[in-house]
C-alpha cells in the first residue's frame, strides 16, 4: 500500500498527540458534566450566578446555565472543550507547513516526487481526520453521561453540538494552515489561528452585552457556532459558515504554498 504517503505519515507521526487531546477532552467532559445535578438546580449556585456582574454572566453564557443544554454548552462546547480543540487545531494547522518548514525538514520532502498542493492537501486531510475523531469522541462521551448526569439532551442536539464544535476546530486549523502556507513562520501561523479564535470569542461576548453591539456577532465564528445553542435548537445554518470559511482558507493555503519559495 503506497497511496497517500504524506497523509499516512502525518497520522502516524501524531497519534500520541491525538491520544493526549482525547484524554484532555475526556477529563473536561468527565469532570464537569457529572456536577450538573448538584449545580444546575442548586439555589445557592444560582445565588452566586445572580451576584456576579450581569456583563460577566452574559459574556460566559452563564445565563443559560440552569438548563442541561446551557450547562453543557457553557462548560464543554463553548468553554474548555472549545479551548482544548482550538489549541490542538491551531497547533496542527501551524505545524503542517510552517512548523515543518522552520525545522528545515520540509525541504527534503519537497525534493521528492510530491507536488506542493499534494503536501498541503494530504496534511490537511490528516488534520481533518484527527479533528473528526476528537469531535466524535466528545459526542460519544456526552451521549454517555447525558442520562446519568440528567442533562436531558436530545440526540439531534448532541450531534449538532459535535458538528458545531468540529466547525470551530476546522476553521482555526485551516486559518493556521493558511497563515503558515503564506508566511512559512510557525509563530505567525499560531498567532493568526489563535487570534481568530480569541477574537471570535471576544466579539461574541461583546455582542452579548447590549443590542447596540449585537452586530458584532456577525463577525464572530464563535457566535456562528454557539450563538444559538445547538444542543438545544439543533443545527443552525450559521454553523455552515464555519465550514465555508475553512474551505476558503484551505484554498488560500494551497494557492499560496504553490507560488512561493520554501525555507528562505
Amino acid at each position: 500500500m503506497s497511496a497517500l504517503p504524506l497523509f499516512r505519515r502525518a497520522l502516524a507521526d501524531s497519534w500520541r498527540g491525538l491520544l493526549g487531546w482525547g484524554l484532555g477532552l475526556a477529563a473536561v467532559v468527565g469532570l464537569y458534566l457529572p456536577l450538573y445535578p448538584s449545580i444546575g438546580g442548586n439555589p445557592e449556585f444560582l445565588a452566586i450566578i445572580e451576584s456576579l456582574p450581569p456583563e460577566l454572566v452574559t459574556a460566559l453564557s452563564y445565563d443559560q446555565i440552569t438548563t442541561g443544554s446551557g450547562y453543557t454548552l457553557g462548560t464543554v462546547y463553548g468553554l474548555l472543550g472549545f479551548v482544548l480543540l482550538t489549541i490542538a487545531a491551531v497547533a496542527w494547522g501551524a505545524s503542517a507547513i510552517a512548523g515543518d518548514e522552520e525545522r528545515g525538514t520540509l525541504e527534503l520532502t519537497l525534493a521528492h516526487g510530491v507536488s506542493r498542493h499534494q503536501i498541503v492537501l494530504e496534511r490537511l486531510a490528516a488534520i481533518i481526520v484527527k479533528l473528526v475523531v476528537l469531535a466524535a469522541w466528545v459526542t460519544l462521551l456526552v451521549s454517555a453521561v447525558n442520562g446519568p448526569s440528567e442533562l436531558d439532551l436530545s440526540t439531534a442536539g448532541i450531534l449538532a453540538g459535535g458538528v458545531a464544535l468540529l466547525g470551530t476546530g476546522l476553521l482555526t486549523a485551516t486559518i493556521g494552515l493558511a497563515a503558515g502556507a503564506v508566511t512559512g513562520r510557525r509563530m505567525i501561523a499560531i498567532g493568526t489561528g489563535a487570534g481568530v479564535a480569541v477574537l471570535g470569542y471576544a466579539l461574541n461576548a461583546l455582542g452579548n452585552q447590549n443590542a447596540d453591539l449585537e452586530w458584532l456577532h456577525a463577525a464572530s465564528p464563535y457566535h456562528w457556532a454557539y450563538g444559538v445553542n445547538p444542543l438545544e435548537a439543533g443545527l443552525e445554518p450559521s454553523v455552515w459558515l464555519l465550514y465555508a470559511v475553512a474551505a476558503v482558507a484551505s484554498v488560500v493555503a494551497v494557492l499560496a504554498f504553490r507560488r512561493r519559495d520554501v525555507g528562505v
Binding site: 502516524a12 507521526d13 525545522r103 525538514t105 519537497l110 521528492h112 516526487g113 507536488s115 519559495d261 520554501v262
Partner: protein, 311 residues
C-alpha cells in the same frame, strides 16, 4: 544531446540582496560536475532552484530537458537531492524514514536502501533523531541515491563524514557516473571535487568565476617543495630555484647543521630536477599541487567588492 542541467542568465534576488547574478551553466549527461565556492556564493541557491524549492527571479533553467517550475513531481522523481543543511528530527527509524521517501518517489525498491546503508555503515534500526551528524548525513545520502535517479544534486555531500566513509561515498559517485547518472555536487573541500569531478565551476558572490577541468585547475596550481641540503649549499640552491618559472616564497632555514630550502613552484618537475642536480640532496619533499590555493586565487580576485549574500 540534451544537457542534464542547462542554466542561462539565472538571477535570484531576495528582497534587496542578490544571491545569483546571471549564472550560466551547462552540465552534460553522465558527467560529475563540481561547484566550489565559499559559503554564500550561491551554490545552495542554485541547487534549490533545480529542485523547485525556490523560484528564479529571472533566467531559464532546464533540468533533464524540463523546466523544474512546471515539470512537477515526475521530474523530481528523476533527481536525488541532498540538502546542504540537512535537518532530520523524526522519531521513526532510519529504515522507516527512507521507506517513506522511497514511497514519495513511487519506488518500492527497498533492497537498495539496505545495500547503500551497509556500504556507508548506517544502522537503519535506530531512530533518526538519535543519530549523530555523520549518521544523519548517511541517511541523507541514502535517500538521494536509493532510487537510482538520472541526476544527483548533492550539496556538501561529505560534510560530517569520517574519511573512510568519504572514500566510500566517492566510490558511489564514480559508480553513479559509470552507470550513466549525472552528478552535480558542491563543496568547499576542494580535494573531494578534485578526486571525482570531471569539470569544476568556481562560484563567487553569485557569479560563475570560472568553469574548468580539474587538470587545468591543477596546472594553474602551485606545489610546495622542501629540499634538505648540507650546510652552506642552501643559498646557491635558493638562487637557482628563484630563476624557475613562477617560483614563490623561496626561503632558507638552518636546522641542525643542515639547510632546508623551501619554495612554491608551478609544476615544472624536470626544471626542478635540473636545479637539484648540481647539489647534494639529503631529503626532498614535493607536495601534490595545491588546488585549494589555485581556487582561492579566483576567490581572492576582487574580494574587496565582495558582498554578503545568503547561501
Amino acid at each position: 544531446m540534451t544537457p542534464a542541467i542547462d542554466i542561462s542568465a539565472l538571477t535570484k534576488r531576495y528582497g534587496r540582496t542578490t544571491a545569483l547574478h546571471g549564472v550560466d551553466l551547462a552540465v552534460e549527461p553522465g558527467r560529475v560536475f563540481g561547484v566550489i565556492g565559499p559559503n554564500g556564493a550561491g551554490k545552495t541557491t542554485t541547487m534549490r532552484i533545480l529542485l523547485d524549492i525556490i523560484r528564479p527571479t529571472s533566467g531559464t533553467v532546464r533540468v533533464l530537458g524540463e523546466d523544474p517550475r512546471h515539470a512537477g513531481p515526475a521530474l523530481r522523481r528523476r533527481i536525488g537531492y541532498l540538502p546542504g543543511e540537512l535537518a532530520m528530527d523524526a522519531r521513526l527509524s532510519a529504515r522507516a524514514l527512507l521507506t517513506h521517501y522511497a514511497q514519495l518517489n513511487g519506488s518500492r525498491d527497498t533492497a537498495r536502501i539496505e545495500t547503500l546503508s551497509e556500504r556507508l555503515g548506517l544502522d537503519l534500526s535506530r531512530p533518526v533523531r538519535s543519530l549523530s551528524k555523520g549518521n544523519k548525513q548517511k541517511v541523507g545520502l541514502v535517500q538521494a541515491l536509493s532510487h537510482s535517479p538520472d541526476l544527483l544534486v548533492l550539496d556538501e555531500p561529505t560534510s560530517g563524514l569520517d574519511p573512510l566513509v568519504q572514500q566510500e561515498f566517492l566510490r558511489l559517485v564514480r559508480e553513479a557516473r559509470n552507470a550513466g547518472q549525472t552528478v552535480f555536487l558542491s563543496s568547499h573541500v576542494i580535494s573531494e571535487i578534485e578526486q571525482v569531478a570531471d569539470e569544476v565551476a568556481v562560484l563567487r558572490d553569485g557569479r560563475i568565476v570560472d568553469v574548468s577541468t580539474v587538470e587545468r585547475l591543477r596546472a594553474a596550481a602551485l606545489r610546495d617543495i622542501r629540499v634538505t641540503v648540507p650546510a652552506t649549499s642552501g643559498a646557491a640552491l635558493a638562487r637557482r630555484l628563484e630563476q624557475l618559472d613562477a617560483a614563490q616564497d623561496v626561503a632558507v632555514t638552518v636546522d641542525a647543521g643542515r639547510e632546508i630550502v623551501s619554495a612554491r613552484l608551478r609544476d615544472g618537475i624536470p626544471a626542478l630536477l635540473a636545479a637539484l642536480a648540481e647539489t647534494e640532496v639529503l631529503d626532498l619533499v614535493v607536495q601534490e599541487p595545491d588546488l585549494e590555493r589555485a581556487v582561492l586565487q579566483f576567490y581572492g580576485a576582487g574580494s574587496a567588492t565582495a558582498e554578503e549574500v545568503p547561501a
